[in-house]
Structures are given as C-alpha cells and as structure tokens.
Amino acid sequence: MEEVLKEQTVKLTPKDFQTDQDVRWCPGCGDYSILKQVHTILPQLGIPREQIVFVSGIGCSSRFPYYTETYGLHGIHGRATAIAAGLKATRPDLSVWVVTGDGDALSIGGNHLIHLLRRNFDINVLMFNNEIYGLTKGQYSPTSPEGMVAKSTPYGSIDHPFNPIALALGADATFVARSMDRDPAHLQQMLLRCYHHRGTAFLEILQNCNIYNDGAFELFTEKATKKEHTVFLEHGKPLVFGEQQDKGIRLDGFTPRVVSLKEFSKEDLMIHDETDINKAMILSRLYEMNDGEHVYPKPFGVFYMRQRPTYEDALQQQIEQVIAKLGPPDLNKLLRGRETWVVE
C-alpha cells in the first residue's frame, strides 16, 4: 500500500503510457486520436501504471492494449467483457478498461456486454463505433445503417442496426455516454467521467474508419455541420444547439420537438437530468426522429448516470457476511464433512 501511495506522488506524463510497439492502424484512422486522449487522461487519474489493465477483444480497436504501457490482455473476439468481469471480480483493486468495437461488443460479444452492464462491475467500456468491420476488410456491422453498401451486402444492407445507447440503457447500465474521436476535449472529459463513475461506464465513441467507411460521422465532426447536427448534454442545462445556438429541444409530453429560441425561452426547453432514466431514453432515440422534414441533432455527453452497488462490492460484502456466519475457513473441518466413521 505504501508503495502505491509513493507512486502517486511521482507525476506521470502521457509519454509514460506509450509502448515501444509501432502503432499499426491505417494512417488517418480515428483510433489514433482516441489513443492520444486516453494517454492524456491516464496520468490525471493519480494511479500508478501497474494498477491499470486494458482488456480487448478482436478488431482494429482491440489492438489498443499493445500501445499502452499498462497491463494488457488482448483476448478473443467479443469476449473482452467476460474476461474483464473475471479479472475485476477477483481484483477489485485494479482499474479495468475494456476496449472494443461495434462488431466485437454488439455482434459476437453482444451477450457478454449486456450482462456486464446489468451486473455493474466497476469497469470502463470504450466502444469504438465506426459502423463497419475494418479488420476483416469492410463488411457491414450491427450499427451500420440500413441500405449501406458494403462488401458483404453489395445490394445494400437489409439489417436494422442497433442503437448502442438505447441498448445500454435497456441493459440497465449505470453510466451511458457518447463522444467522438474528433472532439479531443470532449472525449477527454468523457473518459475522466467514465473513470470516476463507480460501476460499469459505457462510452460510445464515434470513430472514423477512413478506409472502409470514411465520413460516416462527418455531419457531427465537421465544422460546417457540427453545430446544426449535434447537441451536447450537460447536467442541469437546457438542450440548446444550432449554428447560432438558436435552437433547442422542448418536450411536448413525451415527444421531443426542435424549437426556435426566437419563439421559446431557454426555460421552456428540456433541462438535461443525467439521473432521469426516462429522459435518457427519450434522448437515446432523438436522432432517430429525423424524418427528412424535421432535423434532430445527435446528442453527445452523459445520457444517464446513477449509483447502484457494484458486483464486486456486493460480492465482497457477501463473503464477509458468510465469514461472520460460518466463521473463518477451516480446511480440516471441510474435508471431514458432517458424518464420519473410524476404521481401527
């Protein structure tokens, strides 16, 4: 313990988290920015490198651990969440991060993801969403929009995509947020919030795959369109957006409407409340309300956050209760069992 405390006083820098391995992502890939932001915030956590573990599955994003000077485990496709669960259950002292992609987390690993979220281990899940399979060279993914033409769907995808935020909320996640590779300041802020949330933090990071799905998120990342098509959520603040910050989201019953601030005042707008699951649900579907006629922005930031006991805390508590009830372990007693007899 003393060792740990001493280490905290040694100031680490982002450079301390770089490894000697060449980063092998395609030049221009959004993963570079995410890596950089993670390396930027890690020294701010105040914990030594050896207390941090990155676990990943398979996919472009899952190479992440090799590039980060902490403990790391590059697992198998879709299973990073399951591996991380076992690690955290036995080692609550570690800061455990899962790096995964839309295919890894929502397709082959969909089952493990939802169970991780409901159990609420204190683990941070960074899901890089590029709406495509990059490593296998360009098939549509479970978040690709309907109609997408990709290698495995030359006539357009007929698969209806997942809405990752709605999925996480549906799985009873205790922290659900969205950010993007192209907004470093926001991404850093979200990463820090993930870390400080006690429970499973699910962060969807929109990430550009410039090789197989270039420009998928242009509308939200490019200067010219960003302000019109995004709304940044801040707890306790009204939902304002638009080039001139002249629009807002107003609740009409349970239906969100885009209104002009020329007609309404900010007090009339929906006030973001991170702790309100119903509002979070509404916001998770906001962008889907775009119907050609009405233009709804895509929300970024923390949709939802609440406190619920973590799995590992509940586990520890149960162990202590059982010890209080049954007493400390006695192997001889256990091996003897209840009924024995002696042969002379």
Binding site: E50, Y71, G75, L87, R91, H112, I323, L335, W341
Partner: protein, 613 residues
C-alpha cells in the same frame, strides 16, 4: 416368536426404485450412510429420470438408486441387484432386468392398481399373473401401513403422510439387513427439527417398517453384512462432484491463492457450482456466467489477475469453450477446465455417462494446441486428481483439462479423507517487482520451459499478452515463419516436459502375464473387479489405469510392451486406444460399450476371456 435365522453375506446390491416423487434418492442416501457408518465398503449410483417432473406413475418418471455394500472390498455399484424395491408398477418394469434370477423384490402393492398398471404398460398385474415366478416376491401394502402408522397425527394430510412411505421401506430394509436405525433417526431429527409433525410421521413410518419385519412371521431370514477390512483411518462418504469441489478448495487453501469458478449450469456438472457456491467463507468466488464462453473467459481474467481460474462443464459446454481454451494455451496462464462427460454428441444423453470426450480434450482445438489432460478414476479420486490438476496448472503455467463423467460425478464411495497438512504443498512463485528499468520479458522461460506469472499491480512488470502468435521471450506479436514453428514446438515440449514431474505409471496384478488391461477414468472399479475375478479363476491378467493422459507417464511404453496382449476397455467407440496405437505402435484391442451406462464386471470378465483365449 417364529424361528429366525441370520444369514451372513459378503456383498449385497440393492436397488431402490420408485416414482420421482417417492423419495428414493433420500432413501438410498440414508441406507448408504448407515452402511458406511457400520463399516461396510460400498459403491453407489443414482439413476435419475431425464425429465424433471415426468408424469407420476410413468416409465419416464422412475427414479432409482443402487448401492453395493459388502464385508469385502467393493469397486463398483454392482452389476445385478439382489434386492429390488419397487414402489410402483413402472419402477418394477424399468428395473426388473437388473435383478438377478432368484433375487428379492419388495413391492408396494398400492402402486399396482389399475391406473399404475396401465401407465406402466402392463396388460395384467405382474404380481398375480405368475410372471415373477422364480423371484422371492415380498408384497407389502406400504401405503396402507404408512397411513395406519401415522393415523393419529391429526395436523397432517394424507398427501404428507404418504410422503413417508419411503421411510417405511427403509425401516423394513434396516430390519432385513440387521442395521441400526439411529443414524437415520438422527438425520430426520436434523432435517425436520422445525416441523415436529412431519418429523413424527417419518419416525413412525421408519419404525413401523422395522417392526413390520420383526413381527410378521412370514419373514424368517435376516441378513448380516459384516464390516469390510478397510485401511485404518477416519472415513466419510463422498460423491464425485463433491470430492472435486473439495479438491479445488483444498488446492486454493494450500497454494494461498483465491479460487474463482466461472461456470454455466449444465448436467451433470452443475453440482460443482452449487457446492462451491457454499464456500464463500473460504474466499471462493463462484460466478454463474451468462454462457459457457463467459464461464471460461471470466476464469481466464481471474487467472491473469493471479488467481486460480476454474471452469466446469460437460461436453456441449466444452465445445463452446474451445476457442477460449486455445487463448489460455497461448497466454500460458494456469487454468483448470473440468469436463464432467455425458453421452454425446450434441445434447446427446445429458443424464447418462460416457467417456467420449477424450479426443476432444487432447486434440479438439484449432491449431497445434497442447495441454495436460488428467482423468479421475473413482468418486473419491476426483479430489486427488483435481488437486493434481491445479498443481500442474500453477507450477507449469498451463491450462489443464480434468475429465470426470456422470458416473463418477453422482456415484459415491467411502473416502479416507486427508487432513490439511497431509496434502502435498503447492508452491506458487509470482514474478518480482522491478525498479531498475530493465524490461520485463513475459515469455522468458525457465528450464521447465515455464514462463513467469506477473500479477497486475506489480510494479515494473506492465506487459501485454494475447492470442496472436508471439515472439518467444519478449511476447511481442510476431508473424515470423521460424518463430511460429519454434513456438508451436516449445508449447508442445513444455507440456511433454511435465512428464518429469509426475509419478511413473504403476500396474496391479502380475508383472508378466497373458494380458494387460489399460483403462482410464470411471471404468477403474469395473476393470479391477473383473481382473480380480479372472485372476481368481487362474488367469494372469494385469491392470494399469491412467490418470495422466497427456503427457503420459514416461514408462508407459515399456509397460505396454511387456504384455503379449493389450486390451483397452472404454465407454466410447475407441479413443484412448487410438492414442496408444499412435504413440506406442501396440496392437491393442478394444472393448467398447456405448450405451450410456458403465461396464458390468460380468461383461468385462466375459469379453476379456474371449480375447485372451
């Protein structure tokens, strides 16, 4: 008083059979405990219906429990029964073929009414139509007598009173085999302490059954089975899955590590999860995962964290875990994978036993993917074998497959349990923290080719490992052709080198002889009984039984070549035999049975004779 004789018997097999609601498992369990406590050697095997709640009175709903107890050494639950208890017509129909000619049938006549006969598919009542001639048929209206015995317990309904029928039977058998009722009375006392009326009803039924034997003049013979000559010491009765769970806990305690079980419910492995879930005060963590894959992956995560990672399953679950086992082989992390085999393929025969996953354990993964494989040979041996599996995993940094089967898992036998300090030490060495700035090399091996185990949280050992092929020593990703070949060979050599750290193979029976019977897993008892029988008849047959299936003990080849004939009995279509022929070029012959049930001694004796003569 009628004249009573007491006949001494060396060995008796009883089968309790009834409807799943008749409490036959409990009855069998109580008879077993008493047999154990009076000093008999014994073996038991339950026979559950596949359906959880099959309709009452049907053939599908019959539940059975077989016990073989004796004043001599007992190796199996017995071939044929001497006594069959049939609580209804269906139980008789299902089990009559297991009864020896001239054996005793104890029936509950109330279970043979028109409805029961029809459900069992009897055209006429077998109790009356002469079809049971040649058996010693004891008819008792157990239902009626139980009701009479409990008549003045006013706060219980008929249904509750009828549930005590099994105690009446048990009491009768206690009388018949001259056993004390004390242990069962005590057990009832403990079980129903909070429910005095139910306790009273059970006690009365038990005593009524005993007295019925004692006072009914038609029963003139009682039997006595004396103590067996067993090695001195303190014993308890234990089932295979229970022994396995205790072995894991013991290994965790002795190694000073935390035990983590990641598991998904599956027959016949679930009892291990249930058992371990009770030992939270030993710091045991059981994690009922969302599926088989998460079961093993969470165990891998725990192992990476410096704990004993374990996953338990049966055949279909093994199939699902395959990819993750490969990951564990690549990561070179300790892990124990327990496969309680059942009949396959696919869903197969969930409640029946088989040994057909050996080749899967040895070879069933993508790529060249070697790992140690161990198999237990009896219910109590599950303890020692799984303990050894943990030791190998921790000392050699490798996943290990432990094989048991449905027969061992649910079977029981007396166990001369060890004390904690009698257990072999398990020494675990974690890599030490570094502060001198030299890089930690996760795949730098020692003379046993074992890599270091670096626990996260240890300063200076930050490292990354994964399923991609890696460069030896550094662990960096490498696609170099020569490196891959080198790594494949190193991983194989590392597992083979474990042969230097396990005992040499031993044989039982003559050093030279007509044949060697080579077995593995749950067939040990049946082979042993058969070989003993044959040698008593003047044959010269030896037996060797393999705990270590990979690597094989170093002297196995020499043993195999010492006998003119090598015979390999297996509850599969011939799996170990393939490996032995491949590795040692011996012209072994197989005896194979694939019926979801164990070998009987008699059939092994006969088949071995045919092969030797």
């Amino acid at each position: 008083m009628a004249k009573r004789t007491i006949e001494r018997l060396q060995e008796v097999v009883i089968k309790f059979a009834g409807d799943s609601g008749d409490g036959m498992q409990l009855t069998g369990g109580q008879f077993t405990n008493t047999a154990a406590l009076v000093g008999n050697d014994l073996g038991t095997f339950p026979d559950f219906p596949a359906e959880i709640r099959a309709p009452q009175g049907t053939l599908a709903g019959v539940s059975g429990f077989q016990i073989n107890f004796g004043s001599k050494e007992i190796f199996t639950p017995g071939d044929q029964c001497d006594v069959l208890v049939a609580m209804n017509a269906a139980a008789l129909k299902v089990n009559l073929n297991t009864l020896r000619k001239g054996g005793t049938i104890i029936v509950n006549t109330s279970g043979f009414d028109a409805k029961n006969l029809k459900l069992a598919g009897y055209a006429s009542n077998p109790l009356d139509d002469g079809s049971l001639e040649g058996y010693n048929l004891i008819r008792i209206d157990i239902t009626k007598l139980t009701r009479e015995a409990t008549a003045d317990i006013t706060d219980l309904g008929l249904k509750e009173k009828d549930r005590c029928k099994n105690m009446f039977v048990l009491g009768f058998l206690f009388w018949m085999f001259d056993r004390p009722m004390d242990y069962t009375l005590q057990a009832l006392q403990n079980k129903f302490a909070k429910n005095p009326s139910v306790l009273e009803a059970n006690v009365r039924a038990l005593k009524a059954g005993y007295n019925y034997g004692d006072t009914t003049e038609t029963f003139t013979t009682r039997y006595r089975v004396e103590k067996a000559p067993m090695a001195p010491g303190e014993y308890r009765n234990i089932m295979g899955n229970q022994a396995l769970a205790l072995g894991l806990v013991a290994a965790a305690q002795k190694s000073g590590l935390k035990l983590f079980l990641g598991s998904y419910p599956i027959t016949p492995a679930s009892d291990i999860l249930h058992e371990l879930a009770r030992y939270k005060n030993f710091g045991v963590i059981t994690f009922q995962a969302e599926d088989e894959i998460a079961g093993i992956c969470s165990a891998i995560g725990a192992a990476f964290g410096g704990n004993i990672g374990v996953t338990t399953t049966s055949g279909p679950g093994m199939a699902l875990k395959t990819e993750a086992i490969g990951l564990a082989v690549m990561l070179e992390l300790p892990l124990v994978i327990c496969n309680i085999q059942r009949g396959g393929p696919s869903t197969g025969l969930p409640t029946k036993t088989e040994q057909a996953d050996l080749l899967q354990a040895l070879y069933g993964r993508n790529g060249e993917c070697p790992l140690p494989v161990l198999a237990a040979c009896s219910p109590a041996d599950c303890f020692d074998t799984v303990y050894e599996a943990v030791r190998i995993a921790l000392n050699h940094m490798t996943p290990v497959i432990f094989l048991s089967d449905g027969y061992l898992a649910n079977g029981s036998e007396p166990w001369r349990f060890p004390t904690a300090d009698q257990l072999p030490e398990i020494k675990v060495v974690f890599a030490e923290p570094r502060t001198n700035g030299t890089p930690f090399l996760p795949y730098q091996r020692d003379e046993r080719l074992v890599r270091p185990w670096a626990r996260p949280g240890t300063k200076g050992l930050e490292h990354r490992i994964g399923g991609l092929e890696k460069e030896d020593i550094t662990g960096n990703i490498s696609y170099e052709p020569e490196n891959h070949e080198h790594m494949v060979k190193v991983r194989e050599a590392k597992v083979e080198r474990i042969a230097d750290f396990i005992p040499l193979q031993t044989t039982e029976g003559p050093e030279q002889g007509e044949a060697l019977i080579v077995g593995w897993g749950g067939t040990y008892g049946a082979i042993k009984a058969a070989v003993q029988d044959l040698n008593e008849q003047g044959y010269r047959i030896a037996q060797t039984h393999l705990r270590y299936l990979k690597p094989f003990p170093k002297n196995l080849g020499e043993i195999l070549h010492r006998y003119p004939k090598v015979i390999v009995p297996e509850i599969n279509n011939g799996q170990l035999i393939k490996v032995l022929r491949d590795k040692y070029l011996v012209p072994a012959v197989g005896i194979n049975k694939i019926q979801g049930i164990p070998f009987t001694k008699a059939e092994l004796v006969q088949r071995i004779k045919e092969l030797v003569n």
